[in-house]
């Protein structure tokens, strides 16, 4: 049986053609990095609520042991990536543009790499109930590995019925990043197995596996794996290499021509979309009882000696990761940048003294050959190239005017909130205006204002309610008073009328005598 490779039928608006730059990190196989000297695990590595540390300093932990527990509905567990001793729990620099510190659990590995007790025999997912699979996904700390690190349990739990299709995102459209590409090349069968687990779980009638056409090796390997699996529910689609093809909204549009209405999720349209890395993590959790304690990260860029993909433990210090790849090419970092993620949507890191986190799909050591320091912006010439490439069909130049002049009402009228901050407009701008920076700032301001508005609304409501209550009390009091008054009046009146009556009677008694 031959597996059809189909082309995506539709296309999202805009988009930019970028040099892939992936070949520099795809020459070698994924290398497994040995246990580093220490592991630093932030207790918040996911979207949602921060997990709570459940170990203490000095505790001996085993590989795969739960060390921080999820809180609430949207959160994720964190596990010890190897066996060792907890040496500290407290603030430590985490990968963030503003050198943020956040609570981390630090483990000094004992080098024995002893697993916590796990079932001896491998599982068969066919015999697991949906609830059991969901529990595994939750317990083992699985989050979206495409970069958004949204807890996967929260995503798959509500998707158990009425799903039109499961979509597997293997687009990986951002330049330099190749971890998904390599994962598909080397773990194709595992990914297919993961898809089967998800198909069983969700009951989706079909699965669309989408890969950008600049990854022919990955496509042919997945095709091979599909042929072997003989599962007709899984369809393979190739996508044109066009940034940002891998964006959730753009991918859905390319495959189905459907747009997610404002404020809705793909799930509302009947689609569940997962990244290939997440699918592999789900498969490892279900089949091998392995929590999310490691991930593949692309270490690349002109500033690193041997660009490659590395399978490293979560919590590995970035500096050791770089050293594992041969270290930096140049000792001076003045002209270099360290970027978590890709060159368009990544985060610029101030220091390499941070750990590898679940969200880190790529570590780009960028020399001036790769990226460019921000140029002096010139006046906007309204060329409109930005709107030609905008995948959200916006008019970035109008948004720029309004963001710059702090006219946020107009910016919202031009649908600023639909901006996905992909950076395509920025890239094509001949005036080198940092558009995305303006949009981010404006979005932040709008959010703050909304929050302020909500707060002031609450305060106003509270005030109005209090006024109402006071008014009510005053009214009641006044009514009571009035009632009392009228009661007294009645009394005097009755008294008076009684006297009158007696007088009348007396008079009438007298009258006949007069006659």
């Amino acid at each position: 049986m031959d597996i059809l490779l189909r082309e995506a039928e539709f296309q999202f608006p805009g988009g930019i053609d970028l040099p892939a730059m992936k070949e520099i990190s795809t020459n070698d196989r994924i290398r497994i990095m040995p246990i580093p000297s220490q592991l630093i695990l932030p207790i918040k590595q996911h979207a949602g609520l921060t997990a709570k540390a459940i170990v203490n300093v000095g505790d001996q932990v085993l590989k795969g042991q739960l060390i921080a527990e999820l809180q609430g509905e949207v959160s994720a567990n964190i596990h010890a990536p190897t066996s060792g001793i907890i040496v500290s729990i407290g603030p430590y620099p985490v990968p963030h543009a503003s050198a943020q510190v956040s609570d981390c659990i630090r483990i000094i590995p004992d080098g024995k790499d002893v697993w916590i007790e796990r079932p001896v025999t491998p599982r068969h997912y066919q015999s697991l109930s949906n609830q059991e699979i969901i529990n595994v996904v939750r317990d083992y700390g699985i989050v979206g590995l495409g970069g958004a690190v949204f807890p996967t349990e929260a995503k798959i739990k509500p998707s158990s019925n009425n799903l039109k299709a499961l979509i597997i995102n293997g687009a990986e459209c951002e330049p330099y990043i190749s971890c998904d590409d390599m994962l598909m090349r080397e773990y194709g069968e595992d990914i297919i197995e993961g898809i089967k687990i998800l198909l069983q779980l969700t009951g989706a009638p079909r699965c669309i596996f989408a890969i950008e056409n600049n990854k022919p090796t990955a496509i042919s390997i997945i095709r091979e794996a599909l042929r072997d699996s003989a599962d007709l529910r899984i369809e393979l689609f190739s996508l044109p290499s066009l940034y940002p093809q891998g964006g959730e909204k753009q991918l859905l549009q390319s495959l189905t021509n459907e747009e997610i209405p404002k404020g809705k999720l793909p799930l509302d349209l009947g689609y569940l979309m997962l990244n290939v890395g997440t699918v592999k993590a789900i498969r490892d959790a279900v089949m091998e009882d392995q929590p999310l304690i490691s991930r593949v990260v692309t270490v690349t860029g002109d500033g690193v000696m041997h660009p490659q993909n590395v399978m490293a433990l979560i919590g590995t210090p970035v500096i050791e990761l770089i050293d594992f790849c041969g270290g930096y090419k140049s000792k001076s970092s003045q002209t270099h940048q360290l970027i978590m993620g890709g060159p368009l949507m990544g985060v610029s890191l101030p220091s390499d003294a941070v750990p590898l986190v679940k969200a880190m799909n790529c570590l780009l050591v960028a020399s001036p050959k790769d990226t460019q320091p921000q140029l002096e912006p010139k006046a906007c010439i309204r060329c409109g190239e930005c709107s030609q490439v905008c995948p959200a069909n916006l008019l970035p130049q109008q948004l720029y005017w309004y963001s710059k002049s702090k006219n946020y009402v107009e910016a919202e009228r031009f649908n600023l909130s639909a901006c996905i901050e992909c950076g395509a407009c920025d890239y094509v701008c001949p005036s080198h205006i940092p558009l995305v920076q303006y949009f981010r700032h404006a979005k932040g301001e709008i959010k703050e204002r909304q929050e302020q508005k909500i707060a002031s609304d609450i305060a106003r409501e509270r005030f109005e309610y209090r006024e109402q209550r006071l008014q009510k009390i005053a009214d009641e009091r006044a009514a009571k008073l009035a009632a009392k008054k009228s009661g007294m009046q009645n009394k005097t009146q009755t008294k008076k009328s009684a006297i009158d009556e007696i007088m009348q009677r007396a008079k009438s008694k007298k009258k006949p005598e007069e006659n």
Binding site: I260, Q398, Y427, P430, H432
Partner: protein
Amino acid sequence: MYFKVLSSPFLKPKNNITKVMLHVLLALLPALIAYIWYFGWGIFFNIIIACLSAIMFEAFALKVQDKPIIPAITDLSAIVTAVLLAFALPPLCAWWITVFGTGFAILIAKHLYGGLGYNIFNPAMAAYVVLLISFPKEMVVWLAPRGVDLGLETVSVAQTIEYIFRGAIGNAYALDAVTSATPLDILKTDLGGMQTMQEIKTHPLFGSMGGHGWEWINNWLAIGGFYLLAVKVIRWHIPAAVLVSLICIATVFNIYDPGHYAKATFHVFTGAAILCAFFIATDPVTAATSVKGRIIYGIGIGLLIYIIRTWGGYPDAIAFAVLLMNMCVPLIDYYFKPIAYGHKKIK
């Protein structure tokens, strides 16, 4: 190790304004050569005068506003304005007219509105209209194109320079010996004189499609325009809308009464319709921004060109059509926005 922190995206930008403007100048080059071939060296000197004065005025305007001078001059936008204005001027044109026009374009039409990116009106066209209204006599000094014998004397390079700097060649009467009307002038005056299209077209100034010489300049301009499309400096929407609407309305009237209304090809290949479609209407600063808006804007220009040419007071209408549509741009931008992602009305 510590690294510098920037805001994403970090990729090298693909383009810059200088590159865009250089493409435009490059695209005008073949037409310039054709222009010189047919109408002599006048335009060449006009361009040099216009460019020098544009740089001067630009530097002055920036200096007065305390803005950095070098980045604004090296973006070449003032040069493009100057060159486009020179393309619109007659080849024999006194130096002070060119300087005055460039001054108006740079100082008033561009910098009084806030400089590059803020001007509402196309500076070159605004300046052209001011010149046309202020100096109607000087603005119609056209030469007969090469290869057309109207019994006029040809003008040498030396005479051209003499005219540009002295405002006369030899004595004042000699001017009549060398100048002629443009095909659009003839069309206008002769149609007014109750001649039919067929009779007018026998005039030696008319070529196979448009005006003699003009049609070749226009061909080269069109090729330059296609070059700009190929390098994505302009998009197809505005040129297509201008030309298609002009062709449509001209064809309708030509079919209705071929004796009084010229063919569409004549309208396209004479005068500045092609220059307008590819180089003037596409000026991004003063055009509409969305795709829909640009099509409306282009159609407006195409129709106005025909209306003013046919029923208006001036033989050519590019500048007026462009300025009138420039005025409509804010309105067009307001009403023709693309529908943002996720904002489609649900059926």
